[in-house]
Symmetry: C2
Subunit: 327 residues, 2 copies
């Protein structure tokens, strides 16, 4: 399978996003370096500053701006429980594209309110995520909506690639000095990671990309090491952005080809990373948003002496989970 | 006493800040409106996104860029325990201006590390804040440094006024609709509040500005209601950005003249506002950063039917305090 997107796709996505999404900051926190032992220089990419507090705003906007006028007029539908739905709803409101989000009954009321607050139509359907997918699929047929997949869409991956495209620019600007040796990226579906690989292959092939999943939701990690796609029955992690049970067609081969390594971290390591980001950067992080730091912490001996970027990809942690994480 | 700064000063400060500080977002969270009962439309100004996670980056940069070349070369000194020092240090590194920060012995090691990490010289001197002020004053004499006051400087107030100047622009841009009836502003020394008053007087005199202090540190609130400057012995609040014990010459008369009202909130109300911001916006807030929301919550019946802006002015809350606030 050919590489899913080109560098030109990333440049085009940046141009489509630029009028609406300023670059997010890339910051260096000496206190964070010190907590990791002082041998790694960590740069934090603040995608938690985006509208909807998550990098999914990039993906949603990249997806909707890639549609033709007719598809935009009809609108899109997605099955999701969280950040993907909010990112689409935000982008849809911005562009006047109707967005329908299917969630299972019992979905977080906070998340439902956030999606509705952004003007999307929210449909509660079925008992679980798979039932919500079925409901969304019916709407594609019944209403002529476009299915907006969270990962399996070249425009989505190009949107996520703009994170690393920005990082590669920002490391060359004062007070930074051009140094960058590695990026540690969390994998839910793989858009951030394949986006990062696409950007570094084109612009900085010397930069290594490492991937991280939760040990309780290791489908893509296990598949990467096994060398073939696979599905797992369960995805148990408080980092709901990482709770995937399968590989995705558009990202798996690129992950296989490009990653320097793929590791897992357990729930305690994810929680420790959330606490560490709060303590040293004073930014909130959800579990998936802290997974890059958790992975870096695990890899710190291998990365000693290096400058390493992580992506604080989202801060949508609910209050009870945060209270539990803080202990 | 004449008004301490003009609208032209604010415009000039914006021009000096613009190359280095993009506008911070102004966002509407329906979930936050709903928690307040649904009668007030709340707009949140995200100064927690600034470098150093606090609006003091504006103040520090406005102050340093207002110095002449000779003063910049010699450098500045300040006595501070927190955000003011970090804001100056950040701006000093950006502009190549030497910054010296005097803190008392026993100051938070996290805050000291953050200030040193930004390249400032940190001097630990004396047992309390007043002793740190004495040390800073000696450096003005001995080294020819400029004293950088956290409030009593027209450039600082003009820097803080850029917050409201941005808000007044942003309410006119989609998805907002021009509506703005009031701003509720926390008062430490008063730079944010006098900045807000300066901006609304010039551009939107229909907008009311309300001020908030902590009930445990009510010096300026009490003075406002008494009609004369005064000093208090104590300033007890976990919102350290509000822990001032006196009125300031450059802000007090303007507060007297311009504010619609001045209220206090207790520690429980501040803590509840931190939790509410986390729950509804998924952004971290320090006590002072949540004080605008705490004040708005207290005022919500008076502000029913209105659109009200609050400033999430900083997120530098330490982990033990956050754990206590979350309960």
């Amino acid at each position: 399978m050919p590489w899913p997107i080109t560098w030109d796709d990333v440049v085009a996505a940046r141009a489509r996003l630029a009028p609406h999404l300023p670059r997010t900051p890339l910051r260096h926190y000496p206190a964070l370096d010190a907590e990791l032992g002082g041998d790694v220089r960590v740069l934090v990419k603040h995608d938690n500053h985006l509208p909807t507090n998550a990098f999914k705003a990039r993906n949603g906007l990249a997806l909707l701006t890639a549609l033709d006028a007719d598809a935009r007029r009809r609108g899109v539908v997605a099955a999701t429980r969280g950040n993907h739905g909010a990112g689409l709803a935000w982008a849809g409101r911005l562009l006047g594209v109707p967005v329908t989000i299917c969630v299972p009954h019992g979905n977080s009321p906070e998340k439902n309110l956030a999606i509705r607050g952004l003007g999307a139509e929210l449909i509660e359907a079925g008992a679980d995520y798979d039932a919500a997918v079925e409901a969304a699929t019916r709407l594609v047929a019944d209403r002529g909506l476009t299915m907006a997949h969270s990962t399996n869409d070249p425009a989505v991956i190009a949107g996520a690639a703009t994170i690393t495209a920005e990082i590669l620019e920002q490391v060359t600007e004062p007070p930074l000095d051009g140094r960058l040796d590695a990026i540690v990226v969390a994998v839910g579906g793989g858009s951030q990671a394949v986006g990062a690989l696409t950007a570094v292959r084109a612009r900085r092939p010397d930069v290594a990309v490492y991937a991280v999943q939760a040990a309780g939701a290791p489908a893509i990690h296990d598949a990467w090491h096994a060398g073939r796609p696979l599905t797992r029955d369960r995805a148990d992690t408080f980092a709901d952005g990482l709770a995937t049970r399968q590989t995705y067609a558009l990202t798996f081969e690129a992950l296989r080809e490009g990653l320097a390594d793929f590791i897992t971290v357990d729930e305690d390591e994810l929680a420790a990373a959330v606490r560490r980001l709060i303590r040293t950067t004073h930014n909130l992080a959800e579990g998936a948003g802290a997974a890059g730091l958790a992975g870096l912490t695990r890899l710190r001996d291998r990365l000693a002496g290096q400058t390493v970027a992580i992506i604080l990809s989202g801060s949508n942690i609910d209050e009870p989970t945060l209270r539990r994480v803080l202990g």
